[in-house]
């Protein structure tokens, strides 16, 4: 069934369709419409379960982890300062091996204050052990939440689905809502082998000696690495059931491209338009969208970029003293590539500034000119600023 809705509401629908019985949340702009919509459905009985209205995001995550350990599916949504406050519990969630799913609406971090799109909030959490997806639009966000539960509940690791503030969270688009029976077929009930067991009273999260800690973290890495293959498989099954899929990366017109632009999130949609235009004008430009960020799909990216010589990574995020974060990761993934491509880092859309097709065109033309490698990121600003 097709409906006109915002990215936030698309995510709320996904949570309802997944029959998530326990939600714990705290309001923060621009995520709040997810929390409100789910509360509305809980109050009307359309959503069967409990909404925990916690006093902070930190407690929301604590409650999700704890409830998950009783064997139930859980959800929270957050953004910006909220996910920063959660930081301690994000590590705890992956350490507890619980399949909590969280939607994050990418909003800049203070100071100074602002509410606008910027991916630094969730990218700053890249080392917390969460699976991370970055979505282009509401439809993809809805579908990714459903996929995230399938994956998380198979590897017992938490998963985060991110959309950008306002550009996706508040923008209304036509979304194809899956039928409940389809989702039920696709997503089996959750089962957690290490949930609380009254007959075998175990002790969860003990103090462990060094060797055990190391062993435990290694086991987590093996599970996390398996997500690259699993996410592809789940996406294929999703395609079979729902008739659409995304892959973990999406290459577009890269086969003959002189320059490949790499994007994540909503800038991808704009890049699709810009690149089509440039192609019409005779420029051989390709596009690579990175959808899965953790685990980082290095092999899939190397495969997609095989033979390409110039790459331009556009980041709506910035690690001070480092650079664009997707670019850092991509460079690391390409370090052994026999093609030794030149990888340039472009910073665009920081603080929710608009990234128009002309700006992507400027990036492409700029890369064409470059013959020497460059470490430092190139900031794309509006003309005259």
């Amino acid at each position: 069934m097709k409906e006109f809705m915002t990215g936030n509401h698309a995510i709320a629908h996904a949570v309802k369709l997944c029959r998530t019985p326990l939600i714990a949340a705290y309001p923060i702009t621009p995520q709040t419409p997810i929390y409100e919509k789910l509360s509305e459905w809980e109050a009307s009985g359309q959503l069967k379960g409990i909404m925990m209205r916690t006093e902070s995001e930190h407690s929301a995550m604590a409650s999700c982890i704890a409830a998950s350990l009783t064997g139930v599916r859980t959800f929270t949504a957050s953004s910006s300062q909220g996910i920063a406050l959660m930081h301690e519990m994000l590590h705890f969630a992956s350490g507890c091996r619980v399949p909590v799913v969280m939607a994050n609406v990418n909003r800049l971090l203070a100071a100074p204050w602002g509410f606008w799109a910027d991916q630094l909030d969730s990218l700053s959490q890249r080392d917390t052990g969460w699976i991370q997806f970055y979505c282009e639009n509401g439809q993809e966000a809805l579908d990714s939440v459903i996929q995230a539960y399938r994956i998380a509940e198979q590897v017992y690791l938490p998963a985060m689905v991110s959309i950008e503030a306002f550009f996706v969270s508040h923008f209304m688009e036509v979304v194809d809502l899956p039928e409940q029976e389809q989702v039920d077929r696709f997503l089996p009930p959750m089962d957690l082998p290490h949930k609380f067991d009254m007959d075998k009273p175990g002790f969860l999260v003990p103090v462990v000696p060094s060797e055990l800690y190391r062993k435990y973290k290694h086991m987590a890495q093996v599970s996390m690495d398996s997500v690259k293959g699993l996410a592809l498989q789940v996406d294929q099954e999703f395609r079979n059931e729902f008739g659409r899929g995304y892959g973990i990366v999406e290459p577009l017109m890269v086969e003959d491209a002189e320059v490949v632009v790499v994007t994540a999130g909503s800038i991808t949609g704009t890049a699709r338009v810009a690149i089509k235009e440039l192609r019409e004008r005779g420029y051989r430009i390709g596009l690579l969208k990175v959808r899965l960020f953790r685990p980082f799909p290095g092999e899939a990216i190397r495969e997609a970029l095989r033979g390409r010589k110039r790459i331009a990574v556009i980041d709506r995020n910035f690690s001070l003293g480092g650079g664009g974060i997707f670019c850092q990761e991509l460079r690391a993934a390409l370090v052994h590539s026999p093609d030794r491509p030149l990888v340039f880092s472009y910073i665009a859309g920081i603080g929710g500034t608009d990234v128009r097709p002309e700006m992507i065109e400027r990036v492409c033309l700029d890369v064409m000119e470059r013959t020497e490698p460059m470490d430092t990121p190139i900031w794309i600003m509006e003309e005259g600023s």
Binding site: L22, S56, I65, T70, G71, V207
Partner: protein, 291 residues
């Protein structure tokens, strides 16, 4: 002790508490009254150390060692997780120290009490950060020595019971190991009430209080009989009941037994006496008694 003879011991022998630890005795009494259909939450504190290192555990019920400030929302998450599955015969118990309750966990506890989530929260109050080696908390009494108040604590102990009462939660009570029957009765009562139940338990700590290891129960009794720590209940934030009529011994008898108060000047002891008298008067007033 009524229950001791009847119920299994759910804090097993071999735990790692210091000799004469009042906190371990308190946990044992609480767990015994809770019974085996309990899921327990502990947080970083002596509770964590007492539990032992993997693969050993002293806890006889399913237990999670959660993070410092989240005993309450962890317990609430478990309680609600069980509730949505229709499981009604398991109680969720949170143990946190005074640091985890009065200080770093206060906001989270307040959030859970506001929602009236169905948990029993027991604050094991040894009046300082003892697991990290005796530092001041907002539960440390006036003038007490700690490693971070070498000249004595300049501030009074926070009144956590009044803070809880301000949430209008169904049940809060004080308890201490020197009155085991009263303590276990309160746990049993809390088990029969739905919502957020709070037990403020004073647990003498030989290591942190600088006391011999064989006087913890005695000190616990003295704390009550000197009115340093009266035994009472608060229901729905308004009905106060005093559970024990104290002998009103001078506070000096309690203070003089502890190394952490050894340096006290005469006027400081008098100040503590005045504070205890004043608090007792307030409590009697709240309980509807005069004078």
């Amino acid at each position: 002790m009524v229950l001791t003879e009847e119920r299994p011991n759910l804090l097993r022998p071999g735990h790692a508490a210091c000799a004469g630890c009042g906190l371990a005795t308190g946990m044992k009494l609480v767990l015994q009254a809770m019974g085996p259909r309990t899921i327990a939450v502990i947080v970083p504190s002596c509770e964590g150390a007492i539990g032992g290192v993997y693969p050993y555990t002293a806890y006889g019920v399913p237990t999670i060692h959660s993070a410092f400030e989240i005993a309450a929302p962890t317990a609430a998450g478990i309680a609600n997780g069980l509730k949505v599955q229709g499981i009604t015969d398991i109680q969720v118990l949170a143990f946190a120290g005074d640091g985890g309750t009065f200080d770093i966990g206060l906001q989270a506890l307040s959030g859970v009490a506001k929602n009236n989530d169905d948990i029993i929260y027991v604050c094991l109050d040894n009046e300082g950060y003892m697991n990290t080696g005796i530092q001041v908390s907002s539960s440390t009494p006036s003038f007490a020595w700690t490693g971070t108040t070498p000249k004595g604590n300049p501030r009074r102990k926070k009144n956590i019971m009044e803070i809880m009462a301000a949430h209008y939660n169904p049940y809060s009570a004080t308890a201490t190991i020197g009155f085991p029957r009263d303590l276990q009765q309160k746990i049993t009562k809390a088990k029969g009430i739905r919502g957020t139940k709070f037990i403020h338990m004073l647990v003498p700590c030989p290591t942190g209080w600088r006391t011999p290891s064989d006087i913890s129960p005695e000190l616990s009794v003295l704390a009550v009989e000197t009115n340093i720590f009266p035994l009472y209940e608060v229901e729905d934030g308004k009905r106060y009941t005093i559970n024990h009529q104290p002998r009103r011994l001078p506070v000096r008898e309690y203070l003089s037994r502890q190394g952490r108060f050894r340096h006290l000047k005469e006027e400081e002891i008098e100040q503590i006496q005045r504070d205890a008298d004043e608090e007792w008067k307030k409590l009697r007033y709240r309980a509807g008694l005069s004078g």
